[in-house]
Symmetry: C2
Subunit: 417 residues, 2 copies
Amino acid sequence: MAITVTNQVSTRDRLLRAREAASKLAMLSTSEKNALLLAIAHAIERRAESILEANREDIETAGLEGAMRDRLLLTPTRIKEMAQGVRDVAALPDPIGETLAEWTRPNGLRIRKVRVPLGVVGIIYESRPNVTVDTAVLALKTGNAIVLRGGKEATCSNRELVNILCAVPGIPEGAIELLDSSTRDSVHELIKARGLVDVIIPRGGAGLIAFVTENASVPVIETGAGNCHIFVDESADFEMADRIVINAKTQRPSVCNAAEKLLVHEKIAAEYVPRIVKKLIDAGVEVRGDDRSRRLANNAHIAPASEQDWGEEYLRLCMAVRIVVNVQDAIAHINRYSTRHSDSIVTRSEANAHLFLRGVDSAAVYWNASTRFTDGAEFGFGAEMGISTQKLHCRGPFALAELTSSKYEIVGTGQVR
Amino acid sequence: MAITVTNQVSTRDRLLRAREAASKLAMLSTSEKNALLLAIAHAIERRAESILEANREDIETAGLEGAMRDRLLLTPTRIKEMAQGVRDVAALPDPIGETLAEWTRPNGLRIRKVRVPLGVVGIIYESRPNVTVDTAVLALKTGNAIVLRGGKEATCSNRELVNILCAVPGIPEGAIELLDSSTRDSVHELIKARGLVDVIIPRGGAGLIAFVTENASVPVIETGAGNCHIFVDESADFEMADRIVINAKTQRPSVCNAAEKLLVHEKIAAEYVPRIVKKLIDAGVEVRGDDRSRRLANNAHIAPASEQDWGEEYLRLCMAVRIVVNVQDAIAHINRYSTRHSDSIVTRSEANAHLFLRGVDSAAVYWNASTRFTDGAEFGFGAEMGISTQKLHCRGPFALAELTSSKYEIVGTGQVR
């Protein structure tokens, strides 16, 4: 019963189908949507072999190695996790229909603000085929149609997954549309389709995100880039600081919530900089620094950090160290160079912690914890669509509620102005 | 003590100043902000004469007539109202600092989602000089810097008003920046200033809004266009329907929440169409219609409505009438042609009303009331920044809360992953 997804359907037609589907999806009840999700989970498990086969084709064609290959690779365990992820989303509360506010005006008009789907959600992403299923399912749960534009390297995996999802009985035609990944034309058309698409969420590298935000006329939720900082204040517990710095830098250096910069209060720098630099180097981290930190760590090999370093997201085992004069200086540095993702202060001073929490203009600001916690699952959301680094619509990790809009339903008895 | 606003400062420098100011404004307490607002109200009243003088210059230069002249005109009464508007905003609750959610994770991390300013808000608008003060004050109340790009015709009035506001002691330099209105260059630079400006709100005609949404790389809140519908269902109370149709069409035809289209259930069309067409014509409305409604109103002069009519926002005393077969047909017509602003059903049927309220995909959907109520003041918000017709960030009339974003403050005791 699989519906074959071919590239013969134009992008425009796919978007029109998605728009049509959105009206139908918006009217589904919570139990109807959850039943579809459970059927999807079942279909994924039942079709595991064909998914693995399609993925093998991608792996062979792409010829990637190491982390890149791993991102693309599907395994029986990963497919099981994918299906379990779908069941987890089915178990989450449905935000649609929720009354957000309700009041009656002196003229008797009853106004209710109610949560509704966004409509058509466009996702542009790279590599990991599980994003295909994760995002399609979040969209479905919130009554949205989704238009997917995955990476070229995952073409076969994505096509097979979308075929399986679309073949589930009851999924409206157009609810999940996969665009041609062989050319950039589909990206262009998608991001310009104002009126047909309600939001674009780019998930991927800095280049992709910059391209989308610069060129889209559809509203965008910018995600992901993370030049994250740890500031070790003068009253910091050094052992806690060590633990947080090493964890935030090394536990998974390729992700956006990994720390890239270390700021140290000048009063403790003579003691703390040599100590942490040694630990970082022992952990395999390439360390760079400003002049003062390089002098302090004179026995270790620290390359000079350039102006470009302070704004860069390394996404690898590299960290730049800078001495700051106080918490205000740390805040100013972060607000100047950070990508407003996640930044942390390690301090025993409640006053400095509060200055930092309030003053740092980032999506997630930490006191005495690793920046690695900026994540939907770690926040307890049960799912994640992405991490917004813009201020409009949503900020930080976002999931179901942020795939919704609202409308006003107003009930009168003939009122006029 | 007036600071002279000259055009010698480049747009880029103004945006940088606004960015700087935003950090300071974000740290102001509610009482500090309210004190600034009250001082602004006082300054506006004290400087009424110079405002009127600047406005006379604009009026003479523009050489406008009728409604256009009236939009530009300031009078002593309007200046008093302007100052009172500022005091009203001062009296509203400050959304900044509000805890939106708060929870503790199993690992002990305490997560708090807190309301923060957006940062730098850009407004592009036309004609009415009171928008200058209204929006600047809403921005200030929410700790945002504002960059204003007004219409050329209001240059002197806007400059004088901004001079007065900026001269109020305690207003940070850059908190209110007025861009050059003599060329479109400033608009281009403003809407491309991603990283410096957090949101652009265009307020004005369809041309302006289309230009901004098509070309901005800064996130936009689209406002205003309103092709609004009234659907008179088969069970409608005709007297109520008359009242609502005439009010929605004629009370103020030039505004976005005025009705432009009338849909009539076919079962009552033979009786209701001739009746309402006569009333509309008596009220000075030009009526257009589909073939069926033209035949039904055969004694009245109804021009044929073209396909273009169904999508058009007339903004004048003109209305197109169409017969529909039922409530589903009405919903389908509206979702196809409306600008998703405001639409109303007149019916005695609760079932049809609920179908309509849920099925019509517009910012405000009414049952037995005029579409003219879609307005910040009529909703009881005490202020209005605009009416969003997009789904991202906010939808419908919006004011203080929608000039904010959020951030996560996370407090730990050394947690790592």
